[in-house]
C-alpha cells in the first residue's frame, strides 16, 4: 500500500526538529558545565577589568634589610593566637623567638658559623653546628628575594586591589592578593618606600582555618650571639629515642 506522502513528510520534519533540539540541549549542558568546571579549576580570583588590576606586583627585596618580623598566628575563633618574632641584622644573622603569655620561651639564633637554642629559667643555651640538614624551616622563609617577587608576579591569581591605609607604620599601601597552596595572601606594600609592611595569610591546616598576620618593621637589629652555652652533638636535628631509655 502506498504511504500517504504528506503524512510521512510531516512525521519526518517533526522527528528531525526533535533531534536538533536534543542536540542543542546537549551542547548547552556540556559547554556550560565545562566552563563552570574549568573556571573553578584555574582557581581564578575575580580580577577587576580596570587597568589598576593589571598593576605589576612591585616591591623592593628585603633580604638584606635589617628588620623585626612579627608573626601572629590565630586559629578560627581565637582572637589572640600566639606570637613569634624574627630579628634580622641584614647580614645573615637571625634570632627566632617564640612567646607565650607575652614572655619569650624559646630563642634560636642563626649565624653562618653556628646555631644556638636558648630556653628555660634560668636560660640555658646549647650550641649546634650550622644547620645543613636541608630542613625547609629557614629564617629566610619570611624574606622576599627578587626571585620570589618575580614568581609571585607571574602567578595567575596575583591581583592588584588598589591603595589602602598601611596596617602599620602609617602612610598608604599598594595591596595585592594571590593564592598558593592552602593560603590566600594579602600583601601590603608601602607606596612611597616600596617596602613590604604586612602580609595577611588566610589559610587552612586540614579542616581548620588559620589566619597569620606577618608585619615587617625596618629598623636596626642587633643579634645577640650567646656566649654562655654548652655544645651539642654534631647532628643538630638528632633527637633521642625516648623509648630506649
Amino acid at each position: 500500500m502506498e504511504k500517504d506522502s504528506s503524512q510521512s513528510g510531516t512525521t519526518k520534519r517533526r522527528s528531525t526538529s526533535w533531534l536538533w533540539l536534543a542536540a542543542a540541549i546537549v551542547v548547552l549542558i556540556v559547554v556550560g558545565g565545562s566552563i563552570a568546571y574549568f573556571n573553578h579549576k584555574t582557581n581564578k580570583t575575580t580580577v577587576s577589568s580596570s587597568p589598576a588590576s593589571k598593576k605589576t606586583y612591585d616591591l623592593v627585596s628585603n633580604v638584606n634589610l635589617p628588620m623585626l618580623i612579627t608573626v601572629n598566628t590565630r586559629q578560627q575563633g581565637d582572637n589572640i593566637g600566639n606570637i613569634t618574632t624574627l630579628q634580622s641584622d641584614g647580614k645573615g644573622n637571625y634570632t627566632y623567638t617564640l612567646f607565650l603569655d607575652g614572655k619569650p620561651i624559646n630563642t634560636t639564633t642563626y649565624t653562618p658559623d653556628a646555631l644556638y637554642v636558648c630556653k628555660g629559667t634560668p636560660t640555658a643555651c646549647v650550641k649546634y653546628p650550622p644547620d645543613t640538614s636541608s630542613n625547609d624551616f629557614q629564617p629566610t622563609n619570611y624574606l622576599y628575594s627578587t626571585d620570589i617577587i618575580k614568581k609571585i608576579n607571574a602567578l595567575k591569581t596575583t591581583a592588584y586591589q588598589g591603595q589602602k591605609p598601611c596596617p602599620i607604620g602609617g602612610g598608604t599601601c599598594d595591596v595585592w592578593t594571590y593564592s598558593v597552596a592552602q593560603s590566600k595572601k594579602t600583601d601590603y606594600v608601602n607606596t612611597a618606600t616600596k617596602r613590604l609592611v604586612t602580609v595577611i595569610d588566610a589559610g587552612h591546616f586540614g579542616k581548620s582555618s588559620i589566619t597569620s598576620k606577618i608585619t615587617y618593621q625596618y629598623q636596626d637589629e642587633h643579634i645577640n650571639v650567646p656566649t654562655n652555652y654548652t655544645d651539642a652533638p654534631a647532628e643538630p636535628q638528632a633527637s633521642p629515642d625516648m623509648s630506649h631509655r
Partner: protein, 184 residues
C-alpha cells in the same frame, strides 16, 4: 514506529547529556567554599621530596611522598589527614587526625617518651601528654606551612630525619615547617 524509536533515542540522548553536564558541574559544587585535603610535609630542599605526617605501625611517622600530594608513599595506607583544633587556651592547639580519634601526643601517653602516636584529646577534660602545641606560620611566600612548638617538651615537632617511616618527635631542638607544596 520510526517516530517512536526516534523519541526513545532523543530521550536517551537528553538524559545522558544531562548526566554528563551535571557530572562536569559537580566538582564546582563540591569544591566551592571548602578547604581541600592536603599532605603536610617537611620538604627536603635537596631532593624536593615531601616527608609527610602520617601514621604507621601505631606511631605518627613521616611518609616520603615524592609528589607531595597524597601519592606515592606506601606508608600512606591507610591515608590520614590532620587538622588543628583548639586546646581551650588562646594560641594553644592540638594536631588531630581526621580519620581517627586522637591527636598527636607522647607515645603510649608516656610523659617521658617524646616519640608520637595518637592520644586522647577530648573537647573537655584531660588530654593526653604532649598533645598541646603552639602553631606558627613558617612557609615561604609561595607556600602554606606551620611549625609546632610542643608545650610539654618545650621543643619543636619534627621527624627523626628525612626518610620514610621516620618517627615524628615532640622534642626537636629547632623548628620544622609542615608545609604544602612550598616549591613553585
Amino acid at each position: 514506529m520510526l517516530l517512536t524509536k526516534l523519541k526513545k533515542i532523543r530521550l536517551v540522548i537528553v538524559s545522558k547529556a544531562s548526566v554528563a553536564g551535571l557530572a562536569l558541574a559537580m566538582p564546582v559544587i563540591l569544591m566551592a567554599g571548602s578547604a581541600s585535603a592536603a599532605s603536610w610535609c617537611n620538604y627536603n630542599s635537596i631532593n624536593g621530596h615531601g616527608y609527610c605526617m602520617s601514621t604507621q605501625g601505631g606511631r605518627v611517622t613521616a611518609c616520603d611522598d615524592p609528589s607531595g600530594n597524597h601519592g606515592g608513599g606506601s606508608c600512606f595506607t591507610p591515608y590520614i589527614d590532620f587538622s588543628l583544633r583548639s586546646a581551650g587556651s588562646p594560641g594553644v592547639s592540638e594536631i588531630s587526625a581526621d580519620n581517627y580519634t586522637g591527636c598527636v601526643g607522647d607515645y603510649g601517653n608516656d610523659s617521658s617518651n617524646a616519640s608520637t602516636d595518637l592520644e586522647r584529646c577530648p573537647s573537655a577534660g584531660n588530654a593526653g601528654w604532649g598533645t598541646k602545641q603552639l602553631a606558627s606560620a613558617c612557609s615561604n611566600p609561595l607556600g602554606s606551612g606551620y611549625q609546632f612548638y610542643n608545650v610539654h617538651w618545650t621543643a619543636f615537632v619534627g621527624p627523626q630525619d628525612f626518610f620514610s617511616g621516620a618517627k615524628e618527635y615532640l622534642n626537636k631542638p629547632t623548628a620544622w615547617c609542615f608545609a604544602v607544596n612550598p616549591y613553585v
